[in-house]
C-alpha cells in the first residue's frame, strides 16, 4: 500500500505530575479538523484507576493481531477519541481489524469541561502507557484531550510525527462494525464471578474451531459443540484481551449479532464501560465483511455531511426524522439514512442505549468512500454494460451479469438475493452481497 497516513502531534501524550496531581495529557490530531488543534476535554477523572486499566486494555487490542499479517505490525495505529454530550469514548481496532474495542467514560466518570465537541486521533506512546500502568486507586488524575493552554506545553516545541501505512482496514472496520453492533441483541448477563468462571473455560492456544457460549446448570461455559440457543464465538482466544478487566468488573454483558456474525462483550466498571466486539472468525476482519455495502448503493448527497456537521455534535443521539424535518430533507430519500451515514464514518452505535450517535471519523470522507472495492467493482460492471435485467415482475427480478468467462445469474426474489458466483456460493450472503448483486441493485436504484 503506497498511501500513508501521517499523524502529526504537537507533542507526545504523557502522564506527568503537575501541581501534586497527575495529569494525563493526550495529544490529538485530526485530518479533517483545523490544524491548530484545540482542547476537547479538560477535567478530573472520577476513577482514574479504572480508566487507565481500560486504556491499557485498549492499547493491547490496538497492538494485537490475530491473523497472519506480520507486515507493518510495528506500525501502531492510534486510537480515536470522541468527546461530547457528557461522554468520552475511546475506540480502536486490532491490526487484523477483527477485534473492535471501545472505552466509554460516561457522565459520572468525569468531572470537567467539554471545551469542544469532536473526534480525533490520540497519541498512545509507550512511555505514556507505562506510566498509565502505575496509576493507583484513589489517585487524582486530570485528563486533558488536546491542549488547553497552548503556552503550557510549548517546552520542546517539536512536532511528533508518525507515519503509518494508511490504515484502510481500520477505517473500513470502523465504518462496518457499527452495522454489526446495530444488528446485535443482548444475549446474557454475568456477574463478576460467573464472568471469571466463563473465561477460565477458554481453551489454551489458538483454537481454530468455533466455540459456543452456553449456560449449563447455571454455569456459563465455552464448548466446541453447538447447542440450541448457544452463541457462536469464532477465534475465542481473542477474548483473553479483556480477561484482566473482569477482575475489577461489576458485570459482563454479551450481545450477539442476529446472524451470529459477531459478538460484543461489554464490561461494566462503575461509570466506565469497555466493549470488545469480535468478528465471526479470527481470520476475518470486520473490514472485509461488506456489511455496509448495501447502504452505499445510493450515493450520499454531498451536502448531507455539511448538514450533519452543523446539525449534530459529538456523541449526540442520532435521530433521522428530526434531521429530515429540521433540514427539510425529503423523508423518502432518507430511507436507511443511518446505515448510509455510518458507512461513511459519521455514526457510531451504542449498544446500551440501542441507538446511533454522531461521531465523525477523523479521516477524509473521500478516503472512506474509496475503501469499498466491491462497490467500485459493481460500478465498473454497470459502466461497462455488463448488467442485464432479464425480467422484472416486482417481487422477482432476474438478471444476468457478465463474470469472467461466464454469465452469472442474479435472482432477487421475496427479499432474498442469490448469485451463482463463487463469493455468494461460498458465503451464502453472510459476508455481504457480491459485486454482481450489488451492481444489479445499484442499477435498479438509479
Amino acid at each position: 500500500m503506497s498511501d500513508t497516513l501521517t499523524y502529526q502531534y504537537n507533542q507526545p501524550s504523557s502522564l506527568s505530575k503537575v501541581n501534586n496531581s497527575d495529569e494525563l495529557f493526550l495529544a490529538q490530531y485530526s485530518e479533517v479538523q483545523k490544524k491548530d488543534a484545540s482542547c476537547f476535554f479538560w477535567g478530573k477523572l472520577t476513577d482514574p484507576y479504572v480508566v487507565s486499566r481500560c486504556l491499557l486494555t485498549l492499547s493491547n487490542v490496538v497492538k494485537s493481531s490475530f491473523s497472519l499479517s506480520p507486515f507493518d505490525l510495528m506500525m501502531l495505529k492510534d486510537p480515536i477519541v470522541t468527546a461530547g454530550n457528557e461522554k468520552i469514548r475511546f475506540e480502536g481496532f486490532s491490526h487484523c481489524a477483527g477485534v473492535y474495542a471501545r472505552v466509554d467514560v460516561l457522565g459520572d466518570g468525569h468531572d470537567g469541561e467539554f471545551l469542544e465537541n469532536g473526534t480525533t486521533n490520540v497519541d498512545f506512546n509507550q512511555p505514556m502507557l507505562s506510566a498509565l500502568s502505575s496509576v493507583r486507586r484513589n489517585e487524582e488524575v486530570l485528563l486533558s484531550i488536546g491542549k488547553k493552554e497552548v503556552t503550557l506545553h510549548r517546552e520542546e516545541g517539536k512536532v511528533v510525527e508518525r507515519k503509518v501505512p494508511l490504515p484502510t482496514k481500520w477505517i473500513k472496520g470502523l465504518t462496518s462494525v457499527q452495522v454489526f453492533l446495530s444488528e446485535s441483541e443482548p444475549a446474557c448477563k454475568f456477574n463478576r464471578l460467573q464472568a471469571i468462571q466463563l473465561f477460565k473455560s477458554i481453551p489454551p492456544g489458538k483454537p481454530k474451531t468455533d466455540y459456543y457460549l452456553l449456560v449449563r446448570g447455571g454455569k456459563p461455559m465455552f464448548s466446541p459443540v453447538q447447542a440450541a440457543n448457544a452463541i457462536t464465538v469464532g477465534g475465542v482466544h481473542r477474548l483473553k484481551l479483556i480477561e484482566p478487566l473482569l477482575l475489577i468488573a461489576d458485570q459482563l454483558q454479551v450481545f450477539a449479532h442476529k446472524n451470529q456474525q459477531s459478538t460484543t462483550w461489554q464490561v461494566y466498571i462503575g461509570a466506565v464501560r469497555f466493549s470488545l466486539s469480535i468478528s465471526r472468525d479470527a481470520w476475518r476482519g470486520f473490514s472485509g465483511e461488506g456489511a455496509a455495502l448495501e447502504s452505499l448503493i445510493e450515493d450520499v448527497p454531498e451536502n448531507w455531511i455539511e448538514l450533519m456537521d452543523s446539525y449534530s455534535y459529538a456523541n449526540q443521539e442520532f435521530n433521522p426524522t428530526l434531521l429530515a424535518v429540521n433540514e427539510g430533507l425529503d423523508l423518502k430519500k432518507v430511507e436507511n439514512l443511518t446505515g448510509r451515514l455510518s458507512a461513511i464514518g459519521l455514526l457510531g452505535f451504542d449498544l446500551d442505549d440501542n441507538n446511533f450517535f454522531y461521531r465523525r471519523l477523523p479521516f477524509k470522507t473521500s478516503r472512506i468512500l474509496t475503501l469499498n472495492p466491491r462497490l467500485k467493482d459493481a460500478e465498473k460492471l454497470i459502466a461497462e454494460g455488463k448488467v442485464q435485467i432479464k425480467s422484472n415482475t416486482g417481487n422477482r427480478i432476474e438478471a444476468e451479469v457478465e463474470g469472467s468467462g461466464v454469465h452469472h445469474m442474479v435472482l432477487l426474489e421475496n427479499g432474498q438475493e442469490r448469485c451463482t458466483c463463487m463469493w455468494y456460493s461460498k458465503n451464502q450472503g453472510e459476508r455481504g452481497v457480491c459485486k454482481h448483486i450489488l451492481a444489479v441493485k445499484k442499477l435498479l436504484a438509479n
Binding site: 491499557l56 502505575s134 464471578l193 473455560s201 459443540v225 461466464v406 445469474m409 455468494y424 461460498k426 451464502q428
Partner: protein
C-alpha cells in the same frame, strides 16, 4: 585551478588519505550540496560488487574493484557531505567510531549527528562500539544532546572493561562522573534497557547496587522505591523479574517495606506472576504489623485471588488469615473476600479457604452466607463438608429431575429441502463444491436426475458458472478445505456436461464453448489435459483407498440413468439431517424403479438402506405392501422387523447384508454367507493395544558426520484389523481365467459396501475434508470408519499435524449429529480423544460422553477401562483427563454422576499399582462423585488398587482413607 570535484577524484584515485581532511575542510555548505550528485555517482562506481576474477575452485569470484582505502575515503566524505538520509542509505556506519570521529568532529559535526546517535536508543541492537564512556564524551563535547533512553541502554555495560576474552568487572567506573550516579543510573529504572542480561547472570549489577547503597553512594530508599515501581511498568517478564530480584537482594527490612507498601500493592496489577508472588511474600512479613495498610490490601485482593497461579492464591490467603486473626471486627469482611478463592477447582485451595471462613466468619451472617453459597455448585467434597454451616441445604434429589435425560423418544427430525425448480438446482450446483452442507454431494446428482428433461439452451447457460467451478476444481490448484470427494463430484458434473453435448448439441453449445476454452487454456499452459478429459469413470484417488468407491458407485449409478435418459430417483439421497432417508420415501423411490422395470444401483441401494429410518413402522409396512413387490418388499419388511431368511434367489445380497449390519446385527451369523469377509470383520471387531514403543531414531552426528541410530521411545496405539476372507480365496489361475473369460461370479461381492469401507493413507492429505461424508454413508453404524481412524490417526497417540487434528475433530462433529449405540471402535475413539493433546478434541469427547449417557448409547465402564489402560501405559498426562472432568463433566445430572462413578471405578481398576502424577486429583474427583452418589467403593479390583496406592505413602493416604470410609444413603 581545478574544481573541487576534480581534486577529489584525483585524491581518491591516488588514495591520498592524508590529504582528505584538508580538502574537505575547504568545502562550504553550498559546495557540499553541489557535490552530492557527484559523490553518489562515485558511490555507484566504487561500491559496485561484481565479478573480479576466477576463484581457486574455478567459479567466479565476487568483490569490489575499489581498494579498502578508497572506500574508507568515501565513507568519511559521506559523513561530512551527506544529509542523514543519504548517509544512512550509503551504509557508511563504519565511520561511527571513537577513533575516527575524534579526528573529524572538532572541525565538522553534521547537524543530524545528535539525532542520529540518539536514534540507536530505539533500535533493537546497539553497536558495541557505542559505549557510555564515549557517548558521555560526545555529550560533554557538545556534539550530542543527552538521550535518556539511549543512556538507559548503554549504561548497563558501563561497569565492565573488555578483556581479550570476556570482560572485567569495574563498578568504580560509575563513580567517574557525578552525573552518572545522580541522574543517569535512574534512567535504567525508568526505561528498562538490558540490565537483566548485561552481566550474564553473574549478579554484578545486583552486587553493584547493594555495594553502592552500603557505601552511601546511592540512596538506598530510592533504589528500593524505584525497583518496586519497575514491577508494574509494562516491562517484559524477564526485566520485571530482574527488578524483583534486585529488591529481594537488597533485603528490605520491615520498616522499609511498610514505607514501600502502597507501591508494592500496585504491583498486584502486574501481568507477571514472579513480581506478584514476591510482593505477596514480602507483604506476608508485614501483614501482622501495625503500619500495614489493610484497607488497601483488601481492595487489591480480588486481583490475586482469582489468579491462575496457585502460589499467588495461597500467599494471599495466608495474608488474609493473618489479618483475620488480628482484626476481630473485620473477620466477616475478610471471609467474604477470601470466599473468592473458592472459584478454583482445586482441593487444597478450597480447603484452605474453607478453613479460614469456618474459623473466622460468623455463620449467622447473611452476607457471608450469600458470598459462600455463590460458589456452592463448584465446591469439592472436603471444602463443602467444612463449609456446611454456610451453605443452603441441598434439596433432596427430585426423582423426575434424576430421570429427565432418560427419554428415548425419536428426536425432532429436520428435513433436507430438495430443489423445487430449475433455479434452485442452479444455485445448488454452483455451491456444490463448497461443502456448505455435507449432503450437497448427494443432492446434486439427484437433482440433476430430477431435472434432466429441462435442459434447454437457457437453462444450460444458467448452469455454466457451476460447470466452470467444476473445471477449476478438477484442474486448478488444490485448496486446503477441498476433499477428494469434491474432485469426484466435479468430474461427475463435467461428464454430465459432455453428455449434454451428445444429447442436445445445439442447446449445449455454450457448454461446449466453455469446455473448449478451458481445454485450450490448459494446453496453452502446457498442462496435461488427460485428467481433465478422462470422465468420471476413470476417477481414482492416488492412495487407492477403496473407501471412496461407494460414493463413486452412486455417482456412476446416477450417470448410468442419465446416459439412458431414465427418469428415476437415487435411493440414497438423504431426506433428513444429517444424512438420513425416511423409509417411506425409500419405498416410494424403489417403487418408481419397479414401475419402470429397472433395477436400482446396488451401491445406491445399500447406502439408502444404511441411511434409512422408520418413525412409524406400521405406516411404513402398509405403504410397502401397497407399492412394493418381490425381494425389495421383503427387504423393507426385514428392516422394519419382519422375519426373513437368506435365500438363493436373492439378487440383492449386498443390500441384505447392509440391512442386517445396520438394523439387525444380532442376526449376522445367519447372513454372514452374503459376504466373503469374516463375521468378526463385518461386525467391526478388532484388537488393539497401547504401549510405549521402543524404536531407533536417526540422528546426525556432527563429529563423525554420519546419521546414527539412537534408541528412542514413542507412544503408540496399535489397532489390528483382521480383514480375513471367510470363503476360500479364488486361486490366482482361476481368477485369471475368470478375467479372461469375462466370468463375473464374484461380482456381487465386489459391489458390497463392506468390501470397500476403509480409510487408507500414509500421510493425510485431504481425507479430513471427506470424513464427514464418509461417516454419513452409514449414519446408524459408522464403526468401520472409526476403526480406521483409530488405526491411523492414533498410531503415535497424540495428533501430529493440523490435518490429523481436523480429521478427528470433523469425525467428532459428525458423531455429535448421530445417535447410535457405540461399539468397540466408538468407545476406543471417544476414550482416546479424552486424553489427546488438543483441548478442543478433549472437550468434544466430553460432550459426546454427556450426550451418550443421556441417550444411553455408550458404556461408561468401557470408556473408563480404555482410559485406565492408556494411563497404565503412560500414554498421556493424567492431568488432561482430570482437568477435562473439572471443566464440565461433573454434576451434569444424577445419572451422569452415576455413570461418572462407573467410569472412574473402571479407570482406577485398570491403572498401574504405582500411582502416576496427578492421581490425587483423580481421587479428589472420585471422592466427589462417590459423595454425590452416596456410594461406597464396591468394586474389588478398584479397592485393591486403592490399597496399593495408599501404601505408596504420599499425599494420597488421606483421600483414600476418606474414600474407603464410604458414603451411604442412610447417613444423609
Amino acid at each position: 585551478m581545478s574544481t573541487f570535484a576534480e581534486q577529489y577524484l584525483k585524491l581518491l584515485q591516488e588514495q591520498r588519505q592524508a590529504d582528505l581532511f584538508p580538502l574537505l575542510q575547504t568545502l562550504t555548505d553550498a559546495e557540499k550540496k553541489k557535490f552530492v550528485p557527484e559523490l553518489k555517482k562515485l558511490d555507484t562506481q566504487y561500491f559496485k560488487y561484481e565479478i573480479i576474477g576466477k576463484s581457486k575452485w574455478g567459479g567466479d569470484e565476487y568483490g569490489f574493484k575499489s581498494t579498502d582505502i578508497q572506500r574508507y575515503i568515501l565513507n568519511i566524505t559521506h559523513f561530512v557531505v551527506y544529509n542523514r538520509k543519504d548517509f544512512e542509505k550509503a551504509n557508511s556506519g563504519s565511520v561511527i567510531k571513537k577513533k575516527v570521529l575524534d579526528t573529524i568532529l572538532p572541525w565538522h559535526c553534521p547537524t543530524w549527528f545528535s539525532d542520529y546517535m540518539n536514534s540507536f536508543g530505539g533500535n533493537e541492537f546497539i553497536p558495541h562500539f557505542i559505549d557510555y564512556e564515549w557517548y558521555m564524551e560526545l555529550v560533554e563535547g557538545g556534539y550530542v544532546t543527552e538521550s535518556a533512553s539511549l543512556i538507559a541502554r548503554i549504561l548497563p555495560r558501563a561497569i565492565f572493561k573488555p578483556l581479550d576474552r570476556g570482560q572485567a568487572y569495574h563498578p568504580e567506573l560509575l563513580a567517574e562522573r557525578p552525573v552518572t550516579l545522580q541522574k543517569h543510573i535512574w534512567y535504567i529504572f525508568e526505561h528498562g534497557g538490558e540490565v537483566h542480561w548485561s552481566d550474564g547472570n553473574e549478579q554484578y549489577w545486583l552486587k553493584t547496587f547493594k555495594d553502592f547503597c552500603e557505601r552511601g553512594l546511592l540512596e538506598r530508599s530510592r533504589v528500593l522505591k524505584e525497583a518496586a515501581m519497575c514491577f508494574n511498568r509494562n516491562f517484559n517478564q524477564s526485566l520485571a523479574g530482574w527488578f524483583t530480584n534486585l529488591l529481594v537482594y537488597l533485603e528490605p527490612n520491615k520498616a522499609e517495606l511498610i514505607k514501600l507498601q502502597s507501591i508494592l500493592l500496585n504491583t498486584l496489577n502486574s501481568p507477571h506472576s514472579k513480581p506478584v508472588n514476591t510482593v505477596l511474600k514480602l507483604l506476608k512479613d508485614i501483614a501482622g504489623d501495625d503500619g500495614f495498610e489493610q484497607d488497601q490490601f483488601i481492595e487489591h485482593c480480588p486481583l490475586v485471588l482469582s489468579s491462575d497461579s496457585k502460589t499467588t492464591v495461597t500467599n494471599t490467603l495466608m495474608i488474609l488469615e493473618k489479618l483475620a486473626k488480628k482484626h476481630q471486627n473485620r473477620r466477616n469482611e475478610i471471609s467474604i473476600l477470601a470466599s473468592q478463592a473458592l472459584i478454583h477447582q482445586d482441593d487444597k485451595l478450597q480447603v484452605r479457604t474453607a478453613k479460614l471462613i469456618s474459623k473466622y466468619a460468623d455463620s449467622t451472617s447473611l452476607d457471608v452466607w450469600e458470598a459462600v453459597s455463590a460458589y456452592q455448585q463448584g465446591l469439592l467434597f472436603e471444602a463443602r463438608t467444612i463449609l456446611e454451616p454456610f451453605l443452603i441445604p441441598e434439596a433432596p434429589a427430585d426423582d423426575e429431575a434424576a430421570h429427565f435425560n432418560l427419554t428415548t423418544e425419536p428426536a425432532e427430525r429436520e428435513p433436507i429441502p430438495f430443489p423445487k425448480n430449475f433455479d434452485e438446482l442452479v444455485y445448488l450446483a454452483s455451491q456444490a463444491f463448497d461443502q456448505n452442507e455435507a449432503y450437497h454431494f448427494d443432492l446434486l446428482p439427484a437433482a440433476i436426475l430430477s431435472f434432466q428433461h429441462e435442459m434447454t439452451e437457457d437453462n444450460i447457460r444458467k448452469l455454466l458458472p457451476a460447470f466452470q467451478r467444476a473445471f477449476k476444481t478438477t484442474t486448478g490448484d488444490w485448496v486446503s478445505d477441498r476433499g477428494y470427494l469434491d474432485s469426484l463430484l466435479s468430474k461427475f458434473l463435467t461428464s454430465y456436461g459432455l453428455l449434454l453435448i451428445k444429447f442436445y448439441p445445439s442447446a449445449a453449445q455454450s457448454f461446449k464453448d466453455l469446455y473448449d476454452d478451458h481445454l485450450s487454456k490448459l494446453k496453452e499452459k502446457n498442462q496435461d489435459t488427460r485428467w481433465f478429459e478422462s470422465g468420471i469413470k476413470a476417477w481414482e484417488v492416488y492412495t487407492h483407498s477403496k473407501g471412496y468407491k461407494p460414493h463413486k458407485h452412486i455417482l456412476l449409478n446416477a450417470f448410468w440413468a442419465l446416459e439412458h435418459n431414465l427418469q428415476v430417483p437415487l435411493l440414497s439421497t438423504p431426506t433428513h439431517q444429517p444424512s438420513l432417508v425416511d423409509v417411506k420415501e425409500l419405498i416410494r423411490r424403489i417403487s418408481v424403479y419397479q414401475s419402470r422395470n429397472t433395477r436400482p444401483g446396488l451401491m445406491d441401494y445399500q447406502v439408502a438402506v444404511m441411511r434409512c429410518f422408520a418413525d412409524n413402522r406400521d405406516e411404513a409396512i402398509s405403504l410397502a405392501n401397497t407399492l412394493l413387490r418381490g425381494e425389495s418388499r421383503q427387504l423393507i419388511g426385514f428392516i422394519l422387523g419382519e422375519d426373513h431368511q437368506p435365500a438363493p434367489q436373492h439378487h440383492l445380497q449386498p443390500v441384505w447384508l447392509a440391512a442386517v449390519l445396520t438394523h439387525r446385527r444380532h442376526l449376522i451369523n445367519q447372513w454372514a454367507g452374503y459376504s466373503k469377509w469374516s463375521e468378526e470383520y463385518l461386525l467391526a471387531n478388532f484388537s488393539w493395544s497401547s504401549y510405549i514403543e521402543h524404536y531407533e531414531q536417526d540422528r546426525y552426528n556432527y563429529q563423525t558426520r554420519v546419521n546414527e541410530k539412537i534408541p528412542a521411545t514413542r507412544e503408540a496405539v496399535i489397532v489390528s484389523i483382521d480383514k480375513k476372507e471367510a470363503t476360500p480365496v479364488i486361486s490366482g489361475i482361476k481368477s485369471l481365467w475368470n478375467k479372461l473369460t469375462g466370468n463375473k461370479t464374484a461380482a456381487a461381492y465386489e459391489e458390497g459396501y463392506f468390501d470397500f469401507v476403509e480409510l487408507k493413507y500414509k500421510y493425510i492429505s485431504a481425507e479430513q475434508n471427506d470424513i464427514k461424508r464418509l461417516i454419513y454413508l452409514s449414519p446408524h453404524w459408522p464403526e468401520h470408519w472409526l476403526m480406521y481412524i483409530n488405526k491411523d490417526a492414533f498410531r503415535y497417540f497424540d495428533l501430529q499435524g493440523e490435518n490429523d487434528k481436523k480429521l478427528v475433530i470433523y469425525a467428532l462433529e459428525a458423531l455429535m449429529t448421530l445417535k447410535y449405540n457405540y461399539g468397540e471402535a466408538g468407545h476406543l475413539f471417544i476414550a482416546t480423544c479424552m486424553l489427546l493433546n488438543d483441548k478442543t478434541v478433549r472437550l468434544y469427547a466430553a460432550e459426546l460422553w454427556i450426550k451418550g449417557v443421556k441417550e444411553q448409547t455408550l458404556n461408561s465402564k468401557k470408556l473408563g477401562e480404555i482410559i485406565g489402560k492408556h494411563e497404565y501405559n503412560g500414554l498421556a498426562p493424567l492431568k488432561r483427563f482430570t482437568d477435562l472432568i473439572f471443566s464440565g463433566m461433573l454434576h451434569i445430572s444424577p445419572v451422569h454422576d452415576r455413570e461418572m462413578e462407573q467410569l472412574l471405578t473402571a479407570c482406577i481398576s485398570s491403572m498401574n499399582k504405582k500411582p502416576v502424577n496427578n492421581t490425587k486429583k483423580l481421587l479428589d474427583i472420585y471422592l466427589e462423585v462417590l459423595a454425590a452418589n452416596k456410594q461406597p467403593v464396591i468394586d474389588a479390583q478398584a479397592s485393591a488398587i486403592l490399597t496399593e496406592w495408599e501404601k505408596s505413602g504420599n499425599s494420597l493416604t488421606a483421600v483414600i482413607g476418606r474414600i474407603k470410609q464410604g458414603f451411604s444413603i442412610q447417613k444423609s
